[in-house]
């Protein structure tokens, strides 16, 4: 394959597909078409953004994290505290929350460079646990176990109030989600994105052809942390509340599941996963509210036993070969 062919092949990979346009259009249409469900849609969009941020490190860089909620939580608390103590403008708050989450991500990324999968699991889990403890103990600042109350959000751009129906909130979340998606898409189709996939598949080999593995991991981890922080900030800003459960293990596990349902490593998995997950959640919770976790667990076990790649490729269900 000559150099020209390689460039052409990479370009073809990065081309916009029709279904990507369809998906973005569907997201925009949902705001107009389903005004009564704006609150649920808002939750789905936040979860989707959170899952997309995890996809960057799990699907592209191959880092298994059990503590991604750390960045979601820090974004959430940062946005809520900023609105309460400094100024109520949501956009400035968002910028601050993203910056803080990114800074934390950059600091924590040093921790995931060494060791085995187990070490990384433990370290990510540990960071989330430390933040949970901090938020719990610093109750003069965060409200401790009662959550941070009394957050009043200013109107968006100075004129759109966050109302009870959640339509403003959903529009806001949607815009942030799409902006982040576009950034992530640009990123993974750049040479940087391809080098991430190279080091996911074989870190040693990627290093020996001259990629600076560690710098790339730090960069992608920081970006992913910033996006997770944005998702957390959205949650705090649109609900006007932040509580300890943003740091909980449950949230990290949930986002992992969402991503796995949707499929890793192609960027849109988080969105599909979030839609399926939230709808399932609503369905099963209505049927048996207390034991929803049981069905979630069963689903996970079956999913892994059957093979999670198969779920995404209906063609392989009936014995056809994997593409």
């Amino acid at each position: 394959m000559s150099a020209g062919n390689v460039v052409a092949a990479l370009r073809a990979h990065a081309r916009w597909r029709w279904w990507e346009f369809a998906l973005l259009a569907a997201l925009l249409v949902s705001w107009v078409a389903l005004p009564g469900h704006a609150l649920l849609l808002n939750e789905i969009a936040i979860l989707a953004l959170f899952a997309v941020s995890l996809d960057l490190i799990l699907g592209y860089a191959g880092v298994v994290s059990l503590g991604h909620a750390a960045f979601f939580g820090i974004g959430s608390y940062a946005a809520a505290l900023f609105a309460k103590l400094v100024m109520p403008d949501p956009l400035v708050g968002m910028a601050v929350a993203v910056a803080i989450a990114a800074a934390l991500g950059a600091m924590c990324s040093v921790l995931i460079l060494r060791g085995t999968d187990l070490t990384r699991l433990m370290v990510t889990l540990g960071v989330a646990s430390i933040l949970y403890e901090l938020a719990n103990k610093l109750d003069w600042l965060t409200g401790g176990a009662d959550g941070l109350q009394g957050v009043v959000m200013g109107p968006l751009l100075g004129q759109f109030e966050f109302d009870l129906s959640g339509r403003t909130a959903y529009a806001y979340t949607l815009v942030v989600l799409i902006v982040c998606l576009l950034i992530a898409r640009k990123l993974v189709h750049s040479p940087f994105g391809y080098s991430l996939q190279a080091l996911r598949d074989n870190r040693l080999r990627a290093g020996s052809i001259g990629l600076s593995v560690n710098l790339r991991l730090v960069a992608v981890y920081t970006v992913a942390a910033a996006m997770a922080g944005a998702a957390g900030a959205l949650l705090a800003q649109t609900s006007g509340f932040s509580s300890l459960d943003v740091f909980e293990f449950h949230r990290s596990a949930e986002v992992l599941l969402v991503l796995v349902i949707g499929g890793t490593g192609y960027l849109y998995g988080g969105i599909f996963g979030a839609i399926v997950f939230k709808l399932l959640h609503d369905l099963i919770s209505a049927w048996t509210p207390q034991y929803w976790n049981f069905w979630l667990g069963l689903f996970l076990v079956v999913l892994v036993l059957v093979g999670r790649e198969k779920l995404l490729r209906p063609r392989t269900w009936f014995g056809a070969k994997k593409p």
């Binding site: 799990l58 298994v64 059990l66 040093v110 921790l111 060494r114 060791g115 085995t116 999968d117 187990l118 070490t119 699991l121 433990m122 370290v123 889990l125 540990g126 960071v127 646990s129 430390i130 403890e133 901090l134 719990n136 103990k137 293990f249 596990a253 992992l256 599941l257 796995v260 207390q290 034991y291 929803w292 976790n293 049981f294 979630l296 667990g297 069963l298 689903f299 996970l300 076990v301 999913l303 892994v304 036993l305 999670r308």
Partner: protein, 287 residues
């Protein structure tokens, strides 16, 4: 001061017995089993049920908890766990988180979400003072039982035929199989033993650690700390790590209650940052 040290040691020994099974699955089979706490919880609940509903004496409950959870492990290993050994770590993590969620909700459904209490026999209550060190009787009991178990385990691994078969299967399952060892059966037995020990630890610890359906999630990180900090190549590594963790946790909660579990997590991250393979890992060991 010395009482704190004593409590810390008791806590650490307990953690070791709880986590040693996990060290085995992680070290031997390179399998990340987050559901280990669920076995410990099973042991705790077996004890509580037997004591409170059937009136079985406490000392008899302990071996029953061991046997019960070992059987559970022996049932789950060939049906579910064995298929997971070769899979990527992400799959193993998802699978075992799924099991934890099922166990938590299942126990909640069957027994209820309230905290369960164990009525200790009279001779284990109270404390005695030797040279101004107050030692709880129950905690001394834990130390003795766990100490005996540790020595026994070490002996089994180092001296018996089964121990050498196990070590051979760990080092290279294919060659061990080629030499005529039934590797699957050895792993099955080992997994059952590990689960049984977790169950026993859960039964012993129900009084100290508390027992409710959230148990596997609450202590998952502790077990993982013991194993990842201690390394998985020896038994002494996890033992020392468990003691360190136990003492640090008890002392930390006593002297600086404001910081809570903070100290333990920070300590773990720092240790893992400096020695990613664990404190006591063999050079070049680990996978």
């Amino acid at each position: 001061m010395l009482t704190l040290l004593f409590d810390g040691i008791a806590y650490g020994m307990l953690l070791f017995v709880l986590a040693v099974g996990l060290a085995v699955t992680l070290g031997l089979m390179n399998f990340i089993n987050l559901a280990h706490g669920a076995f410990a919880m099973a042991g705790g609940y077996i004890t509580v049920m037997l004591m409170n509903r059937l009136g079985v004496p406490f000392l008899l409950c302990l071996p029953l908890a061991f046997v019960g959870t070992a059987l559970l492990g022996a049932l789950l290993e060939p049906t579910l766990y064995r298929r997971m050994y070769g899979k990527p770590h992400l799959d193993q993590v998802l699978f075992s988180i799924g099991l934890v969620f099922m166990a938590v909700a299942g126990v909640d459904y069957l027994v209820g979400s309230t905290q369960q209490n164990i009525q200790l026999p009279e001779w284990l209550k109270g404390r005695f003072d030797i040279a101004w060190i107050g030692m709880g009787k129950y905690r001394s009991f834990i130390i003795v039982v766990c100490g005996v178990l540790t020595v026994a385990l070490q002996w089994v691994l180092a001296k018996t035929r089964f121990g050498s078969q196990l070590r051979a299967s760990v080092d290279d399952p294919r060659v061990a199989g080629g030499l005529g060892l039934n590797v699957n059966r050895i792993f099955l037995l080992t997994f059952a033993m590990g689960s049984g020990l977790a169950g026993l630890g859960g039964a012993l610890g129900a009084e100290v650690l508390g027992l409710d359906p959230g148990f596997p999630l609450k202590f998952m990180i502790y077990f993982l700390i013991v194993v990842s900090v201690g390394g998985t190549t020896t038994l002494t590594g996890p033992l020392l790590a468990a003691l360190l963790l136990g003492i640090a946790d008890v002392a930390g909660k006593y002297y600086v209650p404001k910081l809570g579990a903070f100290i333990v997590y920070t300590l773990m991250i720092v240790i893992l940052l400096i020695r990613p393979q664990g404190l006591f890992a063999r050079a070049g060991g680990g996978k």
